[in-house]
Symmetry: C2
């Protein structure tokens, strides 16, 4: 039977090892897989859009392991008490097609998105960066803050959200962990003096959480929330004057901030930077943008990491998802014999 890491197991894992330790470890898995980018069969995710949100499948495979994630994005969900994003996923053995590991991925996606952002920021933010602005204080905010601290040492937060209660939630969650948290009353106040700005808003619309005149030379922008057609966060004039790094160009042209720009606008893929094929930040004045939409490879890495970290532990359960008759050609025997115990 395949292993199952459910929500309770995932929560216990993060409590056991600590979110920052896990984020640091995850960066290694992300890097390892990005360095072998050419080993993967890659396709843009398969999305089904409605007026209220999107449902996506994100598969990827190398020659030995296959993964996919199911994930939704419904910006109106929090108003009715639900998560904007929920997700689960799976690893399967390519040789025989059998699933080997199922996992909740709502928490895991928050971790992997933050780890991926921190990895990009490590290559792109100024090495003397100190102040981290968060525009958007939803479910991802704390994970982004922790990853930026774990990887870049950023401990000063300046947080803005149109929902003041969400900003207060970030303060309540992060001050006890040693962050200095400024509750900003506007995006202007949040980005004042910031070296890195994470935009992480959820509206399914062409927004501009950040305007061109709020961006100063040397800033690194970590743009998380613009991630499907018609859903962007940045004033496009910011992008025109910045170095833009993406995950997987064919997908980001469709889903990312650069959907606002002509299709020949030059971008660099993150794996190129991580593997040394392309430069990271090239000057102290450069404005850099990680136009992150979330790509299947980082889910693959996150699932591998969760599988390795939970192996042999009480975090794991089993899921009875593989029909397994004694004679492989006698599937019908499962219907005629007494059913196996649940």
């Amino acid at each position: 039977m395949p292993h199952l890491l459910d929500v309770a197991g995932m929560s216990r894992w993060i409590q056991r090892d600590g979110a920052e330790n896990i984020l640091t470890g995850m960066v290694h898995y992300l890097e390892d897989d990005l360095r072998r980018w050419q080993s993967f069969e890659k396709i843009p995710r398969i999305a089904s859009h409605t007026r209220f949100g999107v449902i996506e499948l994100m598969p990827i495979t190398d020659s030995s392991l296959y993964s996919f994630k199911y994930v939704n994005g419904h910006p109106l969900n929090p108003a009715r008490g639900l998560q904007t994003v929920t997700a689960f996923g799976m690893l399967a053995d390519v040789d025989n097609g059998y699933p080997v590991f199922f996992s909740e991925m709502t928490l895991l996606t928050a971790l992997r998105t933050a780890a991926q952002s921190a990895l990009a920021a490590r290559e792109l933010a100024r090495s003397d960066a100190r102040v981290h602005a968060l525009i958007g204080a939803g479910s991802q905010a704390e994970f982004q803050a922790l990853a930026a601290r774990a990887v870049l040492g950023l401990e000063e937060l300046q947080v803005f959200d149109v929902d003041a209660a969400a900003v207060e939630k970030v303060r309540r969650n992060l001050e006890p962990l040693g962050f200095r948290v400024l509750l900003a009353e506007s995006a202007d106040e949040a980005v004042e003096g910031a070296d890195m700005v994470t935009t992480c808003t959820a509206d399914k619309a062409r927004n501009a959480a950040l305007h061109r005149d709020q961006v100063r030379p040397g800033m690194h922008l970590n743009a998380i929330g613009g991630d499907c057609p018609g859903k962007t966060e940045l004033d496009p004039r910011i992008l025109e004057h910045a170095r833009v790094i993406v995950e997987f160009e064919p997908q980001t042209r469709n889903d990312g901030e650069i959907q606002q720009l002509p299709p020949d606008f030059e971008v660099t893929e993150l794996w190129q930077v991580v593997s040394g094929e392309a430069a990271g930040r090239t000057s102290d004045e450069e404005i850099t943008v990680f136009d992150s939409v979330g790509f299947a490879l980082s889910d693959f890495s996150a699932l591998r990491y969760a599988q390795d970290a939970s192996a042999g532990s009480e975090l794991l359960g089993w899921i009875d998802m593989i029909a397994d008759p004694d004679d492989p050609k006698d599937l019908f025997s499962l219907v005629t014999s007494p059913a196996p115990a649940g």
Copy 2:
């Protein structure tokens, strides 16, 4: 939490209600959904091929319900004690993107494939059909036989497989259920006098389980096994002289028997026949072929049926796959508070 119908639950359902009753009921669900074909957002499945097999995701959605299936096809698996095909799937609420029902789908796929075949045969086989030939006696064979009996009354089976033990297995499983089973020593012997021929072989190759000279006027061919590029079962000359019905033309052009024919070879989609937009069989002499590759809509129907049939029963369990903090914007609280009980 979403419901879970696992392998044990699925087995108990089939034992509780009986495979033939379930197959008859499933035909109604398939028909209902085929009649509203235009309500669905349809795409060909997303396949990842290796030399040893294929792994596929099969999503589909209408305006209220989304489904997908994960399924593999690995013809060498039985030689190492594994199923050729394993599958699981899910239903989600389109409005909020939350999964509501997870199910094993190895058994469910066998049921839905057989029910879909029987539905097509009801429209395409001669009404005086009596003898059912099975070429290929693997995991699908008994389900195909039961569906053809439940829907068309075919109780005489003539079975051939290169693996004699598999043929004997079919006899052992089906004679006690009232079938008359001829163990054929060749495909020729199996199709002798048959009114309907089901081909259900697994090799990932251009095979010809059935040759043109084995096909007689009036026969209905139910071709199940040719279902991905390079994997076919029928002599293409059979198709050239037959009426060919498919599930979803864009997918079948790529995956089905008709991959052997020019792209303008005329086919009819099954929903057209079921809804009365196109004729079924038009003469006693016509040769009809259901070129079945398996389409996401029949999985959608099968999941709906399994969900309805198991609702409120002890067949169902739960799966802890949805992170659900009290404050929807405070996902991080799941990491700081004590973990919920598993």
